[in-house]
Subunit: 361 residues, 2 copies
């Protein structure tokens, strides 16, 4: 068991935003929310999945919607607590612990806000090991864990509970509700016992996020190459370096959808990369050829600061590095690829693991 | 206390569809649903509001959405029971009785389906005394009764519970959910104790519907003028007679919206009436002048059969009578008119009671 303190949250917000591959929320907003709670309540326990009882009730906590809205409609944190309490009330049972549903600048830190308010620990695991745009895209789905009953709350005080026939229907109905609530909402879902959670979750995503953030910070302090630290801590591959020359982005169907065009620099001079996203970066093409795709992680990093740039912050002129990292092995199964592979998102290509592409296909 | 039998349901389906002013669902579908239950369970009790205990828990039961869809997606009745049970589970309390939320061919008969399944009586009252398109448009809202917690279910087995800050927010969020569920959904809402219910409901809408249907049936059997029977039993005024020469209708925002154009016949020759609707008929204009409007009832009646024609069945060629009837006095207060008056629907006119217009303004 770890105790997560202020510095860990600083590191987590950065590291998790890298794992968030453009989505999962802005790290600055995410860390502010968690800092408030830790200041008031002290450090929050982070439990290894192996430490939780088989009979424990784990309820993940998250934000849903388009991150583009979240930076204008800054949350207080109470929304997430309200959703969590609504689900507990409906289940007529208290959660033993909470955890993130995905990695991201906001979605990795919200569970700490909820944990602080509820006086429960956070489990060091999530349902993605990265971020994905849709609710059913979690390893829990592969293992038959139901998203519903799911609770949702907004900053106005509205709450909704969903009891759906499958996780895709949870996504469909919850998405239109989120749009009506103003583009973002706060959720509690995939309530699960400890036994099932250990089988179905992606372990140690939280500590991995902290570790990535810490290794970047320490590299900077020691004056060593931060990019090397990033590639080491993420098992990542540098796949492009350039300048953003175009960003198209629109809120469509409750998501931030669009693409960024990057003009190559240095070794990549003369090449153009296009990264298409739906909240998260989905595919990276160079001159029309896809060179990395979901479920592997495609991260856009500011070349100067070696900090992640989320979808909603992308803009003309940024000098960036593009790093691709291997996803959890759970996503590379045929069931995993059916849920989150390139075909689901409308790209008619076979998924190739980034390690294989990096070795030259 | 009355016991509602097969013949009463036949009469109610017709009479309530007249009160439904174009909305509230198709009387044929509505009566089939209730007949099934009465065949299996026997007659259903209809309680006068005065008979219910102050501590009784009344939970109204209804369908929501566009009636145009309902005639293609015929319900089994189980959807309404599922919504009702979901709300009972959430409240952790059993309803003492149910009632309609509005009058209509389907919405007046659904409560009998639920009552049969739950072995509880139906209360002879509703929240409109007619039908209106939006959830917050009930006399309950005027008296501060909250629509939420509200439960919704669809035919696929999905359920949703709403806990909203006000009744307009219930409408907003429930409407998008209904659209996503396929255009119609089944709901339980405005749970209320007997004391508050007696104050806030519109009394005896169910028996009024039965009475209208019965008087039409008896007039027909005796060979006397059915139109007179209709005008007598509804306190209605004949405002037009003609032939439908045009219907424009589209599903927009989860409602059947549009207008019907009627070319005058007999005394009305040379005149043209336009009736604009949003599920229900909202305003009737003759040659551009509004001659009847919400909250009064505007009913389109087949001239040959003296049966109501609902919005979704309007079509070119029907010979029709248009009858306007006074609404409940509850709607004529300034609070009532704010909720359901012509201005709410975007018509910049002052509401005039139909009796006053009929006397020559």
């Amino acid at each position: 068991m770890l105790r997560v303190k202020r510095q860990d949250i600083e590191d987590l917000a950065v590291g998790a935003a890298i794992l968030g591959t453009g989505g999962g929320g802005d790290p600055y907003i995410g860390k502010l929310m968690a800092h408030q709670v830790i200041e008031r309540k002290g450090p929050i326990e982070l439990l290894d999945p192996a430490e939780i009882d088989d009979e424990a009730l784990v309820i993940p906590s998250a934000a849903m919607g388009t991150p583009t809205v979240l930076i204008e409609k800054v949350p207080s944190g109470d929304e997430a607590i309200k959703a969590f309490e609504l689900l507990q009330k409906y289940l007529n049972k208290k959660a033993t612990c909470t955890c993130p549903i995905e990695a991201g600048g906001v979605n990795s830190t919200i569970p700490f806000v909820v944990a602080g308010a509820m006086n429960i620990p956070v489990v060091d695991a999530d349902g993605m090991g990265r971020a994905f745009p849709e609710l059913q895209m979690v390893s829990f789905t592969i293992y038959g864990v139901k998203a519903s009953p799911m609770a949702m709350a907004d900053e106005k005080g509205n709450g909704v509970l969903f009891e759906t026939i499958d996780n895709l229907w949870t996504e469909k109905i919850a998405r239109v509700t989120t749009i009506k609530m103003g583009g973002t909402a706060w959720i509690a879902l995939y309530a699960c016992n400890g036994n099932k959670f250990k089988e179905s979750s992606i372990c140690r995503t939280v500590s991995k996020g902290i570790e990535i953030g810490r290794s970047l910070r320490e590299a900077k302090a020691r004056g060593v190459n931060q990019l090397d630290a990033l590639l080491d801590s993420t098992s990542g591959h540098l796949i492009f370096r350039g300048k953003i020359v175009g960003v198209e982005r629109a809120n469509i169907g409750g998501f931030a959808r669009g693409e960024a065009t990057i003009q190559g620099l240095d070794d990549y001079k003369g090449q153009t990369m296009t990264i298409r996203f739906q909240n998260e970066n989905l595919v990276a093409e160079v001159d029309g050829r896809i060179i990395a795709s979901v479920p592997d992680l495609i991260c856009i990093i500011d070349s100067e600061t070696i900090k992640p740039i989320t979808t909603e912050r992308l803009r003309y002129g940024y000098r960036v590095l593009v790093v691709a990292c291997p996803c959890s092995e759970k996503w590379r199964s045929s069931e995993g690829l059916k849920l989150v592979g390139p075909k689901y998102f409308g790209y008619d290509i076979e998924y190739q693991p980034i390690e294989k592409i990096a070795r030259g296909g």
